[in-house]
Amino acid sequence: MTITAATPAPVPAPPARRLHVGGTLAAWIGVAPFIAFALLFLLLPTLTVVIGAFRAPGGGFTLEHVAGLSQPRIVSAFWISIRLSLATAALGCLIGFIVAAAVTRGGLPEGLRSGVMTFSGVAANFAGVPLAFAFIATLGRLGFMTVLLREWFGFNLYATGFNLISFWGLVLTYLYFQIPLMVLVITPALDGLKREWREAAEVLGASRLQYFRMIAMPILWPAVLGTFALLFANAFGAVATAMALTGSSLSIAPILLFAQIRGDVLQDPALGYAIAFGMIVLTAVANLISILLRGRAERWLK
């Protein structure tokens, strides 16, 4: 599955061969279109945002915009976003891991596995607006499950305080693409666990738990960490799902940014830059942490 892309396996470069294709300059010309594209449509736009966050209205450097992030409204939006991303990444990793482990290691029929993988490919990409509709149709006030529970079991879901248009409603919805994403990424890693490792541990007297704690988990840890960062960024940047689900009643960072871009709701155009910059910093930090931890966890892989 292509999503595995997120944690690329280190591939040894093939031995370089000498070919008759001209000098080094020619070699660089070959990648010039891509460099131009990446600069123009990926790096410069990002840079524009970063610079904008530090540029005073008249030009020159300022920290005012970034300081503006301390507005309660923005802080709370970021805080919800962080919690949302952490919660869905953590739960997604945990549940996805369990499902992947059940399918690959739990002695379930072989046919089930390819079904789960294909379905995960679909579900991981079934995000955005339609996903929100599916959850509204299922758990909204008139949704399938809500009605079913009420009419068959006399159970009023909404009387319990549940609301789809809430933090936990959003968590539930995000999990719909987070879990399959984890399944897609972690399954190859689980396949990489050799049967002999488990057997060797077992015959040496280790319990299942000891094997898991001392062998399997340390081996899987880098992949899990990488996926966690991916899921975090994935949730942190998601706008469409949240917007279609909640309108803009739940103020998370990307929705706030969206509203700001559309209509300057914060009455300060430069604050948009600051929010965008804050979002970059957060996803970058999440990835950095995961890379650092991975480096430690992978020292036996060098």
Binding site: F37, P45, T46, V103, G106, G128, I179, A244
Partner: protein, 260 residues
């Protein structure tokens, strides 16, 4: 152990399947007291639907073509001549998974505004172009990874040397030798890109293009049962893309096995 596995799997399956059942059931409820396909009829008959869906399909196709033209020669070249650039390529192509799409879109609006050096947002054509570039960026991680993996299984250097010794030009090598051998990889990247692009919302909305994503949001705000019908349709499209992706993967495996 097996029991626990079944239990874990069953819980996961219930969570994943219920919303699908829910949206399907809901989409049939348009007529009071009975199930009907009214919501679908209303959606499919809506000229807005037809226009936006067609627009998004065209944009997706153009995105895929542009992505292939950009990625295949680059990945090929990096494998062949610039392997020291590979870590950089890995990093750059993964960036779109790290930088939130909305930030990139925001950057576009500022960098290509009407008073900039490249005022793409000034015209409809220019904005369309920008949208396509945005989608190429979003699908870059998948496209690049797919193509690079495909190239790994080919022996690029030998293929190239052989073609060169027969006097083939670079264009010929790429279009006649590399690309045909790379079809399964390219197709899998393409289907994934299609699935990502077809219902995309943020870029389309911020660039103000008449695409399927913003249309769906509009319907969501103004209709009751049609959104569920749209979700079913979108799910069907995603499913078709992934099905085709799996299929090309299998065909490629067969192909390789047959050649051995």
């Amino acid at each position: 152990m097996r029991l626990w596995s079944w239990l874990g799997f069953a819980l996961g399956a219930v969570f994943m399947v219920l919303p699908l059942v829910g949206m399907f059931e809901f989409s049939l409820r348009a007529r009071r007291g009975e199930y009907s396909l009214d919501a679908y009829r209303s959606v499919l008959g809506d000229p807005q639907f037809q226009a936006t869906f067609a627009y998004s399909v065209v944009v997706a196709i153009v995105t895929i073509i542009a992505g292939v033209l950009l990625v295949v020669p680059t990945a090929y070249w990096v494998r062949l001549r610039l392997s020291r650039l590979r870590p950089v390529m890995e990093f750059v192509t993964l960036l779109p998974l790290v930088i939130p799409p909305i930030v990139i879109a925001f950057g576009y609006l500022r960098q290509f505004n009407t008073s900039s050096f490249l005022p793409l947002t000034g015209s409809a054509r220019g904005t369309d172009f920008l949208l396509v570039m945005g989608y190429v960026t979003l699908s870059l991680p998948y496209m690049y990874r797919a193509v690079d993996t495909g190239l790994r299984t080919l022996d690029v250097a030998t293929l190239t040397e052989a073609s060169q010794s027969l006097g083939a030009s670079w264009v010929t090598i790429l279009s006649r030798v590399i690309l045909p051998n790379l079809w399964p990889a390219v197709l899998s990247g393409a289907f994934l890109s299609f699935a990502i692009v077809i219902g995309e919302y943020v870029f389309a909305a911020l660039l103000d293009r008449p695409a399927f994503g913003p249309y769906m949001v509009w319907v969501g705000g103004n209709r009751a049962y049609e959104p569920a019908a749209l979700a079913v349709i979108a799910f069907g499209v995603t499913w078709a893309c992934m099905g085709l992706l799996t299929l090309t993967g299998r065909l490629a495996a067969h192909h390789r096995a047959a050649r051995r």
